[in-house]
């Protein structure tokens, strides 16, 4: 049971971070379908840092890894910003391109790094067993992970930032009615860029949390297995509101955690359901949830529409 709670919390942390990222981008008016790719890039930056820092003091590892993962994600979303804000490109197309690009790029980079170390090692796997310990604090049978705290803090800050500050209200105005926002002197382009970069920052952290959640090495050829899209489902289910996103993430995290730990429960193991079903579960649940909640969606009104100063 402790294990189930632990995995639920860590997967929920991933979903919270990435869904909040999506939430900031969409409130500014840009749909970031490239979050999956942003996660891969964050994971790549974080994993390579962890590998390089093996043996360093724990606190330093935590800080530097968080920072590199966040920055990798942030830099990667520049691709989205340039194309979709400045060049008014199709946001779905660019997001998709970013997802495909990230897996290909990460595989190429990791393979090149591995081959430089050892010409016989042509795998796309990065190991970070040793540094991973820096993030974990044992509390009896429960393994507390610093990332859980990071996700919680991100949730609180997001709530305050969105609803209690001038920046947040202006950001949301740009996603609802950019023309009106512009007419009262808000620079829509700056706001949209902020939303997109924040989504990259949070998505990048989400990526490193995801790949360190259950394992100590990651094969980058697999990307992040649709988790970026699960996060978007969480965001929609959470109606683009931070608190609801937090609750939705817990629910989805539970189903994702079940696939890791179902064999530890006697009554679940007795049901003899093949493991594949549990693997499928998060995707199936999100499809069902979306089917029932999307009709009355509270999506930002102007999301997905490039802002053109001249149009009315």
């Amino acid at each position: 049971m402790t294990l189930l709670i632990q995995y639920t919390l860590i997967f929920a942390s991933v979903l919270i971070l990435v869904a909040l990222g999506g939430c900031f981008a969409e409130h500014s008016g840009v749909i970031n379908l490239g979050l999956e790719g942003v996660m891969v890039m964050g994971a790549l930056g974080g994993a390579l840092t962890m590998k390089a820092m093996a043996g360093a003091p724990a606190a330093l590892i935590v800080l530097v890894v968080l920072l590199t993962a966040a920055l990798s994600g942030l830099i990667y979303t520049i691709l989205l910003g340039v194309a979709c804000i400045n060049f008014k490109a199709d946001q779905t197309l660019v997001g998709t391109a970013m997802n495909i690009l990230s897996t290909a790029a990460a595989t190429v980079i990791v393979k090149a790094v591995n081959m430089a170390e050892n010409p016989d090692n042509v795998s796309s796997t990065v190991q970070y067993m040793e540094s991973k310990r820096a993030f974990i604090v044992r509390m009896g049978r429960f393994e507390f992970n610093w990332f859980m705290l990071v996700a919680f803090v991100a949730l609180v800050i997001s709530f305050i930032l969105l609803y209690k500050t001038r920046f947040g209200l202006r950001l949301m105005a740009c996603g609802e009615n950019p023309q009106a926002a512009d007419s009262v002197g808000i620079n829509v382009y700056v706001m949209r860029w902020s939303g997109v970069l924040i989504s990259g920052f949070l998505g990048g952290i989400g990526g490193i949390v995801y790949i360190t959640a259950g394992v100590s090495e990651w094969k980058f050829e697999t990307g992040v297995a649709g988790f970026g899209f699960l996060a978007l489902a969480v965001m929609i289910f959470g109606q683009w509101k931070p608190i609801n996103i937090g609750l939705a993430a817990l629910l989805f995290g539970l189903f994702r955690a079940l696939s890791n730990v179902y064999s530890g429960f006697d009554w679940l193991a007795a049901l003899n359901i093949p493991g594949t079903i549990y693997n499928m579960m998060p995707y199936l649940i999100s499809l069902l949830v979306l089917a029932f909640t999307s009709r009355n969606s509270r999506a930002p009104k102007a999301e997905g529409i490039p802002y053109d100063k001249g149009s009315r």
Binding site: A89, M98, L101, A104, A105, T107, A112, E221, I236, N279
Partner: protein, 367 residues
């Protein structure tokens, strides 16, 4: 000068120019990455990718491997058509990858477990892909679910289902499904003598000409029929289409169903040649559906253009596998295709700027 300007105004010319531009930039960035990994062999490596089957010195071998590239172009073209068709109706069918997966699962199950003949296996693939697409369409039309997100979810559900389904017909000692030729030869697509043209490459089948014919048919349906017009109108403005008496919900479901059927058929075109066996331990969705996105946009969203762009994408993907694996990762090709898709996002802007500057020039002449 004036004549050159009018040529530039032509939609097809603009698309071709834009595609060539994307390809050149994509290859150039790929080259830079190769340079960064190992400068000494970079020139040779990028040439290897571009040359693909020409890497073989003998003409017979080159022809045989041209055949292999074509064998994989057929499913890619079908996936690209699936995305193209849906995109024209305003739907981004990223679920093509999953529709392709269930098509592969259904056709292989029909061939290996049910021991049916090839036309029935193909039908299984079409129906499976169609159903998978229709789910996305149904959710979009009646529950307002974003088709990109539901498509991705169904990709993964499909992958796990197919792995489960096909683990009953796999080889004892490996995760791969048994070879069709050893169990049920009647499920293999007929080659109608086409294999002779490619140095007896037995994987070259009717799939290749069929996929080209379907591409032409899609063009005809979209541009010359009332049905195509209705679909395009739905994509352009849902409310207007509804007002004009078109059933926009039905059109959405129908479009994704047809798109799914294309992708399913594409999978049958590959797996029923025996060229590839399905690995039941696959943990990622096959890249075919995603490469289809590259082919669609590189082809300027035109089914005929897509024939050429599909070939090009498959050409460099196959070319990547000839790289010296001890020095360069073969995923460089995927990287190049991904960059090409990204650049395609700028194409509309490129056309807009071009048309505007042409319009300005024209105005200048009048003065």
């Amino acid at each position: 000068m004036k004549k050159r300007l009018t040529i530039l105004k032509h939609e097809g010319v603009q698309s071709t120019l834009a595609a060539l531009f994307c390809i050149l930039v994509g290859l150039f960035i790929g080259f830079l990455v190769l340079l960064a990994i190992n400068p000494s062999g970079a020139v040779e490596a990028i040439l290897t990718i571009i040359k693909n089957f020409f890497n073989y010195p003998s003409a017979a071998a080159a022809k045989k491997y041209l055949g292999n590239t074509l064998v994989k172009t057929a499913p890619l073209l079908m996936c690209a058509l699936s995305i193209n068709f849906c995109y024209k109706v305003g739907l981004f069918n990223i679920g093509t990858a999953g529709q392709y997966v269930v098509g592969a699962g259904a056709s292989l199950y029909a061939a290996l477990a049910l021991k049916l003949s090839w036309p029935v296996c193909v039908l299984f693939a079409i129906v499976a892909g169609g159903v998978w697409g229709a789910i996305v369409g149904f959710l979009k039309a009646y529950a307002n679910v974003n088709e990109v997100i539901s498509g991705i979810m169904l990709n993964w559900i499909g992958l796990y289902l197919v792995n489960m389904l096909l683990s009953g017909v796999k080889e004892q000692s490996s995760p791969y499904t048994t070879a069709i030729s050893s169990v049920n030869g009647s499920a293999l697509l007929p080659s109608l003598g086409l294999d002779k043209l490619f140095s007896n490459n037995k994987y070259v089948t009717v799939a290749i000409p069929l996929s080209v014919i379907i591409a032409i048919l899609v063009w005809v349906v979209m541009n010359m029929t009332k049905f195509g017009y209705e679909l395009k109108a739905t994509g352009f403005n849902k409310a207007a289409a509804k007002y004009a008496g078109m059933n926009e919900k039905r059109n959405t479901v129908l479009t994704l169903m047809i798109g799914g059927a294309f992708a399913g058929l594409g999978a049958a075109f590959l797996y029923l040649t025996g060229y590839e066996q399905w690995a039941t331990t696959q943990s990622s969705v096959p890249a075919m559906g995603f490469n289809g996105i590259a082919a669609t946009f590189l082809g300027g969203l035109n089914p005929i253009g897509t024939i050429f762009s599909s070939y090009f994408i498959q050409h460099i993907t196959s070319g990547g596998s000839y790289l010296d694996k001890g020095v360069y990762p073969s995923q460089i090709s995927d990287l190049i295709s991904a960059i090409i898709i990204y650049l395609c996002g700028f194409v509309l802007f490129f056309k807009y700027v071009l048309n505007r500057s042409l319009a300005v020039k024209k105005g200048g002449v009048k003065k």
